[in-house]
Amino acid sequence: MSFSVTEPRMGTKWLAGILVVGYAIITMVPLLWIIATGFKSPNDSIAYPPVILFEPTMEGYVNLFTDRTRATPQMLKDAGPPETWYDEIAQNRGTVITGPSRYGERFLNSVIIGFGSTALCMILGTAAAYAFSRFRVPLKDDLMFFILSTRMMPPIAVAIPIFLMFRNLGLSDTHLGMILLYTAVNLSLSVWLLKGFIDEIPVEYEEAALIDGYTRFQAFYKIVLPQAATGIASTAIFCLIFAWNEYAFAVLLTSGNAQTAPPFIPTIIGTSGKDWPAVAAGATIFLIPVMVFTILLRKHLLRGITFGAVRK
C-alpha cells in the first residue's frame, strides 16, 4: 500500500462522504416527489402532512393521457361495465373518457423537433468543426467567437424579429420552423464542442489516408468520423437535451400544431383545480429520458456545459 502525505485521513474522508451523500439525498427529494406524486390519488397528493407511504394508483397517468367528462348516473349506466382498466379508473371518479388528451401529441412534437434539430445540427456542426479544426479558414478566431456570441443573447430579445420573420415565411407554429430555430441556437455549442473533439484526433491519420489515395471527403468520413464518434454522440445528446428542455421560444412561437411538452405540461388542469398527479405524471415521463442521458453522458458532462472550455 502506498502512503501519500496528500491523501486525506480516513475519518476526514468519511465525513466528506456523509456530507456529500446528505446533499445528494436532499437535492433528489423534489425529483423523487415528482415521481411519487404521479402515482398518488388526488386526495393523497394534497394531504397534510404530506404522505410518503400511499396506495399507488395510475389515475394521474390516466388523467394525463385522456380527456374526460363528468358523467351523470344515467350515462354511467348506459356506458355499461368498464371495458379496460383505465375506463374503470375514470368511472370510479364518476367520469367517462371522451378521447385522448393532447399530451401524446405534444410529447411527439418534442420528439420530432428534438431529434430533427439535433440531426441537422450535427450535420452542419461536424462539417464546420472539421473545417475550423483542419483548414486555414480566414478570420477563424473571429468566426468562432461570433458563433459563440450568438449564445449570449436573451432568447426573448431575438424572439421579436424571429416571430415577425416566421410569420412572413409561414413558419410560425410549424415543426420546420422550430427545427431550424433550435438548430441555429445549438450550432454554437456543437461547433465548439466538436472542434475540441476533432482537434484531439492526430492529423497524421488523415495524412496517411491522403497518401493512400483517399480524397479529402473520404478521409473525412472514413477516418475522422469514426474517430470522433464518441465526441459526436455526446455532443448530440447535449443538443437533444437543450432542444428537449427549451421553453422560451416554444411558448412564444408555437401554440397548437408544433407546441412541445414544456409549455404544455404546466397548463394541465383537472376538472376541479390543478390536477397535480397528472402534472407530475407528465413531468415524470418527460424528465426520465434526460436522467438516463445524463448517466450516459457523465464522462463528457463538464465539457458539454462549458462549451469545451474545461476538459477533464
Binding site: 496528500t6 462522504g17 423534489p30 415528482i34 421579436i160 431550424l180 471527403f217 414544456p262 413531468a283
Partner: protein, 315 residues
C-alpha cells in the same frame, strides 16, 4: 533534414494529376463545410438582431399592422432609461444574480472540495447531484410551485417541521418578501451542480506535488488551502461565475413558471418584463430598444469580465 511524406508525394505527382486525385481543393472544401453554418446563424441570429436594432428606432406595433410606422429616433431609449419601473426590474435581476452566484459558489465549491477527497463511490454521488441541472427548468419550476403551496406543499411542511412555524402561515411565492428568495432557492438547487463540476475540474487540475512540497515545508492545511487550493482553482471558479452570470441575466423559463414575475413586480426579471412589453402589450419598437439595451449590457459586462479572467489565468 526530413521531408514529410505529403511533400514527397506531392513532389512526385504532377500538379494537374494531384488535383484530380484529391478532388476539390482544401480551400473549397473548407468553404463548403463552413458556409451552411454561417448562413443559418446569419439568418436566425444576426439578421434578427439587425432587424431588432432597426425596429428600436420606430414606434412599430405588431398587433396594429395597418398603422403607419414612423421613425422616433432615440425616443424609445430615452423612455426606457428614464423609466423608474425599469430600474426596479434591474434591481430585482441584480438581487437574483448576486445571491444565486454567492450561494452557488459557496455550496458548489464546498461540494467539489469534499468530493475531491475521493471517498468511495464519489462518482456515483456526483452524477446524482448533477441531475437537477439537466432537467427542463419550465417543467421543474412549475412543479416547485406545488412544493411551495402554503397548506400542502412539501417545502412548507419541512420548514414548519424544523422551525415549529405553522406551514400555512407563509407563502413562498405569494409573499413580496419571500418570493425573491423562492426563485433564488430553486435556481440554487438547480445550478449548484454546474459550479460544483467546474470547481471539481479545477481542484483535480492541481498536481499533488505542490501539496507534497508544502507538506515538506510544514505548511498547515489551512495555509495550504488559502495559498494553493484557492488561487489555483480561481480561474475555474471565475469561469463558472461567468457562465452562471450570463445564464441568469437571461433567466426566463424557471422564474416565469415559478412566480410569473409576481407578486406585484418583486420577481419581474428583465427577460420577463421584456416579454410582457413585446408579447402582451405588443409595443414592438419600444421592446426592441429594450432588447438592444439588455444585449449591450450583457455583452459589455461579459467582455470586461473575460479580460479580468484572462489576467487571473496569466498570473
Amino acid at each position: 533534414m526530413t521531408i514529410s511524406p505529403i511533400d514527397r508525394a506531392a513532389a512526385g505527382t504532377p500538379h494537374g494529376v494531384a488535383r484530380r486525385i484529391r478532388g476539390l481543393s482544401d480551400r473549397t472544401i473548407a468553404w463548403i463545410f463552413v458556409a451552411p453554418t454561417i448562413f443559418l446563424l446569419l439568418a436566425v441570429n444576426i439578421f434578427p438582431l439587425i432587424w431588432t436594432i432597426r425596429l428600436s428606432f420606430t414606434d412599430y406595433r405588431v398587433n396594429r399592422p395597418n398603422n403607419e410606422v414612423s421613425w422616433v429616433g432615440l425616443r424609445n431609449y430615452e423612455r426606457i432609461l428614464s423609466d423608474p419601473a425599469i430600474w426596479d426590474t434591474m434591481q430585482a435581476t441584480a438581487h437574483f444574480l448576486i445571491w444565486t452566484i454567492i450561494l452557488q459558489v459557496l455550496i458548489g465549491f464546498t461540494l467539489a472540495y469534499l468530493i475531491n477527497m475521493k471517498f468511495k463511490g464519489n462518482d456515483l454521488w456526483t452524477t446524482i447531484i448533477v441531475f437537477p441541472m439537466m432537467l427542463s427548468p419550465a417543467v421543474v419550476g412549475n412543479f416547485w410551485t406545488f412544493l411551495y403551496q402554503p397548506q400542502i406543499g412539501l417545502f412548507n411542511y419541512v420548514v414548519a417541521f424544523f422551525t415549529g412555524a405553522d406551514a400555512a402561515s407563509f407563502s413562498m411565492i405569494g409573499d413580496v418578501h419571500l418570493a425573491p428568495w423562492a426563485i433564488i432557492i430553486v435556481d440554487t438547487w438547480m445550478w449548484t451542480p454546474f459550479v460544483m463540476l467546474i470547481c471539481l475540474a479545477g481542484l483535480r487540475s492541481i498536481p499533488d506535488s505542490i501539496y507534497e512540497a508544502a507538506e515538506c515545508d510544514r505548511a498547515s492545511k489551512w495555509r495550504q488551502f488559502w495559498t494553493i487550493t484557492v488561487p489555483m482553482a480561481l480561474p475555474f471558479l471565475m469561469l463558472a461565475v461567468l457562465f452562471r452570470g450570463i445564464e441568469n441575466f437571461k433567466m426566463f423559463d424557471l422564474v416565469v413558471q415559478l412566480t410569473g414575475g409576481g407578486p406585484g413586480n418583486t420577481t419581474t426579471l428583465t427577460s420577463i418584463d421584456l416579454k410582457r412589453e413585446a408579447f402582451e402589450r405588443w409595443r414592438t419598437g419600444y421592446s426592441s430598444a429594450y432588447a438592444v439595451i439588455l444585449f449591450v449590457t450583457v455583452f459589455g459586462l461579459a467582455s470586461i469580465y473575460v479580460k479580468a479572467l484572462n489576467k487571473v489565468k496569466q498570473r
